[in-house]
Symmetry: C2
Subunit: 401 residues, 2 copies
């Protein structure tokens, strides 16, 4: 078998087709492109047993990833993050099988490294030399690390108010980093102009077709970790929404190659109530979202006022009988602390929105006790020291406890 | 086969034997205890192929770990961290096979979680209800997380000058945390008195016999990842030295069960020149170290003025034709930045000492071009925002690049 069964790219909206061995951003119609595979070949020639001896990284699914030549793979050891049972929390919420897909345990401590690993590997394969992107922090940190490992330059613009640690990561891994006195949408404007002016590749969310494939591996892993049994509910904290788009794509592809049944999980998209454009659109039964004015939340990673892939996320909610929910900063921070104190798992505020949403959806009966529920934690709590308010008693050397 | 082939505990110095199903700290003679296994059984009944279908965590080696009943395993998804090739750095240093065992990719972002996972699991198995320990930060963070997951209380004393993030982790995961105006040795004094006064289990480094077994799994993994070929050189940044003791123990045990050849790697123990008691002892050809006065270094995790297991670490250096080396703060910080900018891997300052030592040992010919070299990075650079000094240009919304 070949290393990758990639066949071509296809517009997620107008279905126009493109060859995969060229540098591409959006479709001519302005919408994101999806990578397509020879799923027939995979259905005939690939089987689950082939995974058994493979390394525990996202590259174990290389047939369903877009890198044609193995030597172009750029890796920092990403993927096969743990799927942790939350038995204490499950007991509190009366959910028999409650899991956390913990994307803390990955290079740079967030799921952004999945998109970066695959996106940068493909960029390397296509001969791209400079990557440019706006970021709320973590995506830039991941792309800078992988690009540096690949010998590719990065130009990154980040809001000044973004957390310190991703800024440090960009600096340490040698990105050309700039701060902007504004939001990620302002950073996006600056990058948009720059990629017109210079010969840089625009790796903004969904303007770059390959990061979805990286995020897709979260779905492949969850399915493999559940022994190919499809969960009933998957909760995801959405900014740009690439993760949920990727996980849904993984499920459809696995169904087409016959590894899983036709059942679909109900997807729950969770946002902060300080920036909830997709939730508002879903509540109004719309197919696209409107720009969210004056976005503000501690969950910096999901502060995205208008996502390019909003229509895809909303489609998933409508197709799977899913729902969308906004969580207050106060509730997500309480839930973050509560989970850490209960299960020892210190997740990021974005991830904590999914626990808060599970609580509400269990209370109103939307989630049932027998539902198998998977919450996606997109990153580690340790990356956000700014939001911790602790008071610790101080002892002198000769004092006793 | 049984889940664990643990047989008993044995003093690392006087060889006194103890049953394993009881709460133990040090030997009566005051020295650390080692866990022993029925290696004959393992030689006869266990084989490498049995690992193939196991989960990518340190529990894949459960036969060589001390937890008797699987249901006592407390896990946050630790182990099988990546062994990354450093081709750029290898090329610069003229080393053909240069690897980093990257312990960033683990719960809490440091290798301390290996010791905590196994130590807390065994504490749970033995019915311990409260654990107490001094820490320079990361060990406390890991033990607090695992103990909370196990339903065990933790009492932790940490130097006030320890980094912020581990403090946050202890706070978030509900440890009873105290700061002390002093060093880890002062914290140790306070804990020492407290465990006399209360019914708390003293989980100080090497006073607790099971964390070595957790650290041992770094060695098991490196060997498995190198397809059971023994590297020529292993470099390790030593504070308490448990990691190097564990890795060496792993190699001896694998040799005894016949999975690897009799060759030994040359071990290199690296310390900061602001706290280098083991390096000084090795240079003076001593079997034990003296207390290092006025210890000070940015590599907080290896600021240990006098390690309980110093004699074991020195034995390893003498037994394996190894060596010890002290690195300045300036050199380790430069190497940390250089590696991040070259390979995209953002390691901790402690880990960076091993890269600096490799450079010096290559220059003086102690490491040869054809040596297979493994450097242990004990944790993630992102946990140390305090030591990053970056200057990032600032843009206004309407500016261009």
């Amino acid at each position: 078998m070949v290393y990758s069964e990639v066949s071509h790219l296809e517009c997620s909206k107008c279905k126009a087709k493109y060859e995969h061995n060229q540098v591409l951003n959006l479709c001519k119609c302005g919408k994101p492109l999806f990578v397509k595979y020879y799923l027939d070949n995979l259905a005939n020639e690939w089987n689950k047993d082939s995974l058994k001896n493979r390394e525990p990284s996202l590259w174990r699914y290389h047939e369903l990833l877009p890198i044609v030549h193995k030597e172009n793979v750029v890796s920092l050891g990403e993927g096969m993050t743990p799927l942790l049972r939350m038995d204490q929390m499950g007991s509190e919420l009366h959910i028999n099988d409650f899991y956390l897909k913990d994307e803390s345990i990955i290079p740079s401590g967030t799921f952004k490294s999945r998109g970066a690993a695959v996106g940068v590997s493909k960029a390397k394969e296509l001969g791209i030399q400079t990557i440019a992107m706006p970021t709320n922090g973590n995506a830039g940190a991941s792309w800078a690390a992988y690009a540096t490992r690949a010998g590719i330059k990065t130009k990154i613009v980040m809001p000044e108010s973004a957390p310190t640690i991703p800024r440090n990561e960009c600096f340490m891994t040698d990105a050309d980093l700039y701060l902007v006195d504004g939001l990620i949408s302002d950073a996006g404007q600056i990058i948009g102009k720059a990629v017109q002016k210079y010969d840089w590749f625009d790796a903004s969310t969904l303007k770059e077709p390959y990061r979805i494939e990286g995020k897709k591996t979260m779905g492949l892993e969850v399915l493999e970790q559940l022994n190919w049994e499809i969960p009933d509910v998957i909760l995801y904290p959405a900014g740009g929404g690439v993760g949920v788009i990727g996980i849904y794509k993984a499920i459809l592809e696995l169904q087409e190659i016959g590894w899983i049944t036709e059942k679909l999980p109900r997807f729950v998209v969770v946002q902060s109530d300080g920036c909830a454009p997709i939730v508002r659109a879903w509540e109004e039964n719309k197919r696209e979202s409107d720009f969210w004015e004056d976005a503000e939340t501690v969950a910096f990673g999901i502060t995205v006022p208008k996502a390019l892939g909003d229509f895809l996320v909303l489609d998933i909610l409508y197709n799977t009988d899913g729902c969308a929910m906004a969580i207050s900063d106060d509730d997500m921070l309480k839930e973050q602390k509560h989970l850490a104190a209960m299960e020892g798992i210190y997740i990021c505020p974005e991830g904590a929105t999914t626990i808060a949403a599970t609580r509400k959806l269990r209370e109103n009966g939307w989630i049932k006790q027998n539902d198998k529920v998977v919450a996606i934690n997109t990153g580690s709590g340790i990356k956000y020291p700014e939001i911790v308010e602790s008071k610790i008693p101080m002892l002198q050397k000769d004092e006793e406890l």
